[in-house]
């Protein structure tokens, strides 16, 4: 049933959005790409053995921000719902975990994660109703201005709430002193163990998101991205698809928030606000909306630049951050979807290497029997 259903969805989506389904835009997954993922995962897994701890904390940050931005890319890149308030969910996750640990004394990381998932899903479900009311149907994708304004306002609203209810949230200074995570085995996690926790959770979340986006549901989202009216004509309830994708993105954003609250051991109201949303869409644009792993690539660049600037020019960081946003927007060729962002660049480079390196190899050992082409 489900296989048949998937095939039929892919077929109808192919009618509505031939580009997306043929993989021209999102880049068809090949064995080579699977190879990249495996190699990168192994490198990240072994990294803490070779690098000083401040670098591994940077890598932890890259993974958390990458997860956060990938969750935004579900709605921005795939369903074409540009949200400027994704930090609402990040902050919700972070605050839920911090309040549970500090105010209620529930030290279990898993319980905090579970409650944070429920809370961020609930917040997404509640805010999604007025937001998608203004997003409109069909032509909504043409003029999403009210949706943008509303999403900005939602994040700011939550940050005001966090400032106002001081006894619970600690007011404008937030809550500090979140202890190290307890995952059930003996004592709290050390920094290296936390690195692996983030790695494992990140891989699970990325895998889940990837599965969701390559299911019939994900293809329907791509179809909505390209031609919403046509998807409606084909019988899809596009409102429901957009609304649920918004909730899914909210949940993964919330998980990133939980990890960040343990990572930074504090929460502040600006984690709900524009300052944090800005990071999420900068990463998406830097990495490219058209490739699943694009935001992760963007995250590597962003965290690297942020680290260098925080050492040499901390006072001018907003200036450089704003400049990065302007450069990223102006340098992106918006009409050529395959070449947006750094993600596709890395992918193309990898594929080029995949072709070029074996060729070099063959030339060098021309006499030897030609090696079998790797997968």
């Amino acid at each position: 049933m489900s296989d048949e259903r998937k095939r039929s969805t892919v077929e109808t989506a192919a009618v509505a959005a031939p580009d997306a389904v043929a993989g021209r835009r999102f880049g068809a997954t090949t064995m080579q790409d699977a190879g990249v993922v495996t190699v990168v995962a192994i490198i990240v897994l072994l990294l803490p053995l070779f690098i000083p701890s401040f670098v591994s904390s940077l890598v932890t940050k890259i993974m958390i921000y990458g997860l956060f931005a990938t969750s935004l890319n579900i709605i921005w890149g795939y369903a074409n719902i540009p949200s400027f308030g994704h930090a609402a969910f990040f902050g919700a996750g972070a605050y839920t975990a911090a309040i549970l640990v500090i105010k209620l004394g529930i030290t279990s990381f898993w319980l905090g994660l579970l409650v944070a998932i429920v809370v961020s899903a609930a917040i997404a479900a509640i805010l999604g109703i007025p937001a998608f009311r203004v997003f409109g149907v069909g032509a909504g994708a043409v003029n999403p201005i009210y949706f943008l304004l509303a999403t900005i306002a939602f994040g700011e609203l939550l940050s005001r709430v966090a400032i106002t209810i001081r006894p619970v949230t600690g007011g404008s200074t937030g809550l500090s002193g979140v202890p190290k995570a307890h995952i059930g085995f003996g004592s709290a996690l050390s920094e290296k163990q936390f690195y692996y926790l983030v790695f494992v959770l990140g891989v699970i979340c990325l895998f889940l998101m990837y599965r969701i986006l390559s299911s019939h549901y994900g293809y329907a989202l791509r179809g909505i991205h390209d031609n919403e009216k046509r998807m409606q004509a084909l019988g899809y309830n596009t409102w429901l698809y957009k609304y649920t994708s918004w909730i899914i993105a909210g949940v993964f954003g919330g998980i990133a928030g939980v990890l960040f609250c343990y990572f930074g051991s504090s929460v502040i109201p600006s984690q709900f606000a524009m300052a944090t949303s800005d990071i999420s869409f900068l990463l998406v644009i830097l990495g490219g909306t058209t490739v699943f792993f694009g935001p992760l690539v963007g995250s590597i660049f962003y965290v690297g630049i942020e680290y260098v600037v925080s050492i040499y020019l901390p006072a001018r960081w907003p200036l450089i951050f704003g400049g990065l946003i302007v450069i990223a927007i102006m340098a992106t060729p918006w009409s050529r979807q395959r070449y947006q962002g750094l993600g596709p660049g890395v992918l193309l480079l990898w594929r080029w290497l995949g072709r070029a390196v074996p060729r070099l190899w063959r030339r060098e050992i021309a006499e030897a029997p030609s090696p079998k082409r790797g997968v």
Binding site: F135, G140, P144, I145, Y146, L149, D278, V326
Partner: protein, 286 residues
């Protein structure tokens, strides 16, 4: 009761500052199709330029004129170098202008420092008008007067002039308007400059009321967005109504129930989104 009247005047003057801001914002969006989220930062820049001019030449009106012209130039540069290349890409425009507002805020912080500046009301507009036992600050009355003047001018322009007719036609169908031989580019550029200049005027006139500090841009941008969503885009009456509702709610809330005042405007905002997504008086833009 008597206190309520004074609070009412405060609310009214606040509402007119919000109106000046939101009118500029919704004009640039309605006419140019440009989502300018740097509007709050530009307002702040206007306030600081005004402060600088007043500090050096001690002329309030000179400050208003200089800030208006300076912002028109800055805004047009923003349009010419960046936004023009992102025509019809609203989310990208939004992201870009957020970046620009971060840059403006940091440059202002760099030049003028993190301290909050207060601007004195100009000479001749200090003091209060006394009616019985009540004192109405003259400056607030002055702000209301300027606001009413701008409202009347914009309203007249929208409903009674050729420019207004072109703007309305362009909002409905830009391509059709252009194909009728109307130089829509020129008209929309002029209106864009007007919107930017309004942000500068609002910055200088509002500075004695809202103060001037580097993070004010975000706060005012947010209020502007709420006003635009509540009032709706496309009609000057809608913007005015939105500004009036939000300005009054905010001022009365802060005067009487300060602990939850913050949320009054949000409740209205959410209610409008749910019940009347195109705003109280607005074109159905989607």
């Amino acid at each position: 009761m008597s206190q309520a009247l004074v609070t009412g005047l405060n609310g009214l003057s606040y509402a007119f500052i919000l109106f000046l801001l939101a009118a500029g914002f919704s004009l640039t969006f309605g006419v140019m199709g440009v989502l300018n989220l740097a509007h709050g930062a530009l307002y702040m820049l206007g306030a600081y330029i005004g402060l600088q001019v007043i500090a050096s030449v001690h002329q309030f009106w000179a400050a208003v004129v200089v800030a208006a012209i300076a912002l028109a130039i800055v805004g047009y540069a923003l349009y010419w170098f960046f936004l023009k290349k992102l025509y019809n890409k609203v989310p990208q425009q939004g992201v870009l202008t957020i970046g620009v507002s971060l840059i403006i805020a940091n440059v202002v912080l760099w030049i003028w420092g993190p301290i909050s500046h207060t601007m004195m009301s100009p000479r001749g507009l200090t003091g209060a008008v006394h009616v019985g036992s009540l004192g109405f600050p003259i400056y607030r009355l002055f702000v209301v007067g300027i606001g009413v003047l701008v409202l009347a001018l914009l309203w007249y322009m929208q409903d009674r002039t050729r420019v207004g007719a072109i703007i309305r036609a362009g909002m409905d169908n830009r391509d059709m308007t252009v194909s009728l031989g109307i130089n829509y580019g020129l008209v929309s550029t002029c209106v864009f400059l007007l919107g930017m200049a309004l942000a500068g005027v609002a910055g200088v006139i509002g500075a004695p009321i809202t103060g001037a500090y580097p993070s004010m841009g975000d706060n005012l941008l947010l209020l502007t967005l709420i006003v635009v969503v509540v009032g709706g885009t496309g009609y000057i009456q809608g913007t005015m109504l939105g500004a009036l509702v939000i300005g009054m709610l905010d001022t009365f809330g802060k005067a009487y129930i300060p602990s939850v005042a913050l949320f009054f405007s949000w409740i209205v905002f959410l209610a409008v989104l749910l019940l009347r997504p195109s705003g109280l008086i607005g074109r159905k833009v989607f």
